[in-house]
């Protein structure tokens, strides 16, 4: 976790031949990914960590609410959460091939 902002323009960068880094907000539905960085302050980060969204955790976006509403996300520990989209933009994930 650090202070540098995560990309918010929706662009995904190719990090290797097999894996792509993007923000959780831009992750395709049902696409398996691992959280790479959570660019929020320490306290909010700790809270996200407590619910299972932290560096190294696996996440899948199940659906998106209309008009830029929250994401429905499943975490590696099996929990499902509605996650504010602006918050999801600050979570960088690495897509599994």
């Amino acid at each position: 976790m650090h202070d540098s902002p995560a990309p918010t323009d929706g662009s995904a960068s190719v990090e290797s031949n097999e894996r792509v880094a993007t923000s959780l907000a831009e992750l395709a539905l049902a696409q398996d990914a691992t959280v790479e960085d959570v660019a929020v302050d320490a306290l909010a980060g700790a809270w996200l960590d407590a619910v299972g969204i932290a560096k190294g955790e696996r996440v899948v976006v199940i659906r998106r609410a209309l008009f830029g509403g929250p994401l429905h996300v499943r975490t590696g520990a099996g929990g499902e959460f509605a996650l504010d989209r602006s918050l999801a933009r600050q979570i960088r994930v690495r897509v599994h091939p």
């Binding site: 909010a44 509403g69 929250p70 520990a77 499902e80």
Partner: protein, 671 residues
């Protein structure tokens, strides 16, 4: 902490040292766990359903507590802390996490033995262990109670409690809250831990696991018999499939919102369909009792105080009870089934525009039925600032109590309009309340309640069947809380209002002579009510305020009506009826409407006009004319500041709106 347990001295004196200490001080058990972890079910099992709101110093929100017997006469006080994800990431001290942290900090400083019991849903072990990682760092004995054993076993699985205990370095129990013996097992474990002189002795070897270690441990300790694997997997798969399919429908972009509106409409209808008949029965009982008192004591001041002051206040309290209970049941059902989170997901974006979140929707909707249960329902909003904002704007919603007043004003001042035009005005009034509430929430979030909000991270639990007994208990608790905290205030304010309206004062100047007051003099025999109210403290206040309310078209009589209707808005009709000598105006406002239309000023011009009606409607849309609402806000915010704030801002808004409406209507040529 709460009061220590009373124990017979003769018993305590003969006990060994540690036990004697427990007998003398009791044990405080802090029950912690994630939301939906089965904590409430275990709490009910441990306390045998006997719970009340605890009085814990430094903790400003309600924490339920109940006592449970230990051996040799010692008693454990079980405190049910709010559902939480973390005790370290306390983004705001007013959040559930912040409250729990404060509670634990205070408990740790207390000499009273403390045992922390973490409740984990064994079917979601990996999720629960995230909180365990923090709890092992607390300097207090820790017991992990894994619940839902029956569900796990139903899927052919077992939890290796010994392996889990070894992995965590703390004691672990695997239970089902549905089984009676669970109580004794948990309490015995609590007593064993509390008896230790220091938690290090029995708790040495506690381990702080990394995220990967925790996941690995969760996988390792749950085993399934090979023979049961296929069936268990199939059963688990069926459960997952059900939630997935239900979500596909209930969260569908098009169908989901339609179903949501339908479900909310049904919930709303239930209030009127079920609560109204019950309220009518209670009203009839109150009326019969009042008649009985009048028969025995006659029609003097004492009788009036008992019937109109005390019984009237008690009747108002009782009239709210059916709504409180039904709406609590509805909220609990929505929450327990997992649908509340889905509804919040659907409407979150819309409410974000107004500085709120999806969680605020249901309380706001309830506010259209009655603000009292709606204010209580804001407990589902986790963000404290958002919750406060929701509480502050709920009084602006057009509740059902406003309708009789709207009907009277429309019937009186808009008699020339047809039914369709009146219906349009009704609709506009509803809309005005809703829009004002939304604008107010936007403004409040940037002013009085500004500050960092919690990011929306809302758990979407698997759908599950609600526990009827638990919901009934919650509804009962809500009813009791209302009676104790709000009901007493309502009765007290009702008594004060009676004094204002019924006790004559010498200083009160006689009313200005008008056709209306002259007309009322002929019915002075009606228990002397008309002359009494004209000489009442309320009348004196009404006349004092007349220069202020004149610019919005209100004379002293309307002011008295507003004072009287602070008890309950619908009382405006009957209070005006008393002023104008119409005893039964509350039941049949027709003659009162006629009397109001005929009322004249000393110069012979009409005392009230259509503009007065418009201004009165604007005032009623916005003013928090409801002592019960004020009491409920006081109860939920645990302060006098916020109810005073609500009164201040809604009356200012109401006056400003009435002024604008009255004067714009005059410029527009409205009579």
């Amino acid at each position: 902490m709460s009061a220590h347990c009373e124990v017979p001295a003769t018993t305590a004196a003969s006990l060994p040292g540690q036990t004697r200490e427990l007998v003398a001080t009791g044990v405080l058990v802090a029950l912690v766990g994630r939301p939906n972890s089965g904590k409430s079910s275990l709490f009910n099992r441990l306390t045998d359903g006997d719970a009340h709101v605890g009085n814990f110093p430094g903790v400003t929100v309600d924490i339920l507590e109940g006592n449970a017997p230990l051996s040799a006469g010692a008693v454990a006080t079980i405190a049910d802390l709010p559902g939480l994800y973390s005790i370290e990431a306390t983004v705001d001290p007013a959040t559930d996490e912040g409250v729990a942290r404060r509670f634990l900090d205070v408990a740790l400083e207390s000499p009273r033995p403390l045992v922390v019991v973490q409740v984990i849903d064994v079917t979601q072990l990996a999720l629960g262990l995230r909180l365990t990682r923090e709890l092992v760092r607390l300097r207090a004995p820790l017991l992990v109670v894994a619940t839902q054993r029956d569900v796990l076993e139903g899927e052919g699985g077992t939890l290796d409690a010994a392996a889990l205990a070894a992995g965590l370095g703390v004691k672990v129990l695997v239970v089902s809250a549905r089984e009676a013996q669970t109580r004794a097992r948990v309490l015995a474990a609590v007593e064993a831990l509390a008896g230790a002189r220091s938690f290090e002795t029995g708790e040495s070897g506690r381990r702080e696991l990394s995220s990967d270690e925790m996941l690995a441990l969760a996988k390792r300790v749950v085993t399934r018999a090979p023979a049961a694997n296929a069936e268990a997997n199939a059963r688990a798969e069926r459960r997952r499939t059900f939630t997935t399919r239900a979500d596909a429908l209930l969260l569908h972009p098009l169908v989901g919102p339609i179903l949501f509106v339908g479900i909310m409409a049904s919930l709303f209808s239930a209030v009127f369909l079920v609560a109204d008949p019950v309220t009518s029965v209670l009203d009839a009982a109150k009326q019969a009792l009042g008649d009985g008192i009048t028969r025995v004591l006659g029609t003097g001041l004492v009788s009036s105080f008992l019937t109109d002051g005390l019984l009237g206040g008690a009747g108002t309290v009782l009239a709210f009870m059916p709504q409180i209970v039904i709406l609590t049941v509805a909220m609990e059902l929505l929450d327990a089934t997992g649908y509340l989170a889905r509804g919040a997901f659907l409407v979150d974006r819309l409410l974000r525009l107004l500085g709120l979140s999806g969680r605020s929707f249901v309380p706001l909707l309830m506010g259209h039925a009655c603000a009292i249960p709606a204010i209580g329902a804001t407990r589902v909003v986790r963000d404290p600032r958002e919750r406060l904002t929701t509480i502050l704007v709920i009084p602006l919603m057009t509740c059902s109590a406003r309708l009789p007043t709207y009907a009277l004003v429309l019937g009186t001042f808009f008699s020339t309009l047809n039914a369709f035009q009146k219906a349009l005005i009704f609709l506009a009034l509803y809309f005005a309340g809703f829009v004002t509430a939304l604008v107010a929430s936007l403004v409040l979030r940037r002013t009085a309640t500004r500050g960092r909000g919690l990011p929306l991270v809302l758990e979407m639990p698997a759908y599950r069947a609600p526990e009827a007994a638990l919901i009934a208990k919650r509804a009962l608790q809500a009813g009791r809380r209302f009676l104790r905290d709000v009901g007493t205030t309502i009765v007290a304010v009702s008594a004060i209002l009676w004094v204002l309206l019924s006790v004559p004062v010498r200083a009160a100047a006689p009313p200005t002579a008008t056709a209306a007051t002259s007309a009322t003099s002929g019915v002075a025999a009606q228990a002397g009510t008309d002359t009494t109210i004209e000489r009442s403290i309320a009348a004196a206040i009404g006349r004092t305020f007349e220069p202020i309310t004149k610019p919005i078209g209100f004379d002293w009589r309307i002011n008295v009506g507003l004072i009287g209707s602070f008890g309950a808005r619908e009382v405006m009709v009957s209070t005006m009826g008393i002023i104008f000598g119409m005893e039964n105006a509350g039941e049949d406002p027709g003659p009162l409407a006629e009397r109001l239309r005929d009322a004249r000023k000393p110069d012979g011009s009409p005392a009230y006009s259509m503009r007065t009606g418009l201004a009165l409607l604007a005032f009623f849309v916005l003013a928090c004319q409801c002592m019960s609402t004020v009491a409920a806000i006081r109860r939920e915010t645990k302060s006098f500041k916020w109810p005073a704030f609500v009164l201040g801002y809604t009356y200012l808004l109401a006056y400003a709106a009435a002024f604008v409406v009255y004067n714009v209507a005059r410029l527009a040529g409205v009579p």
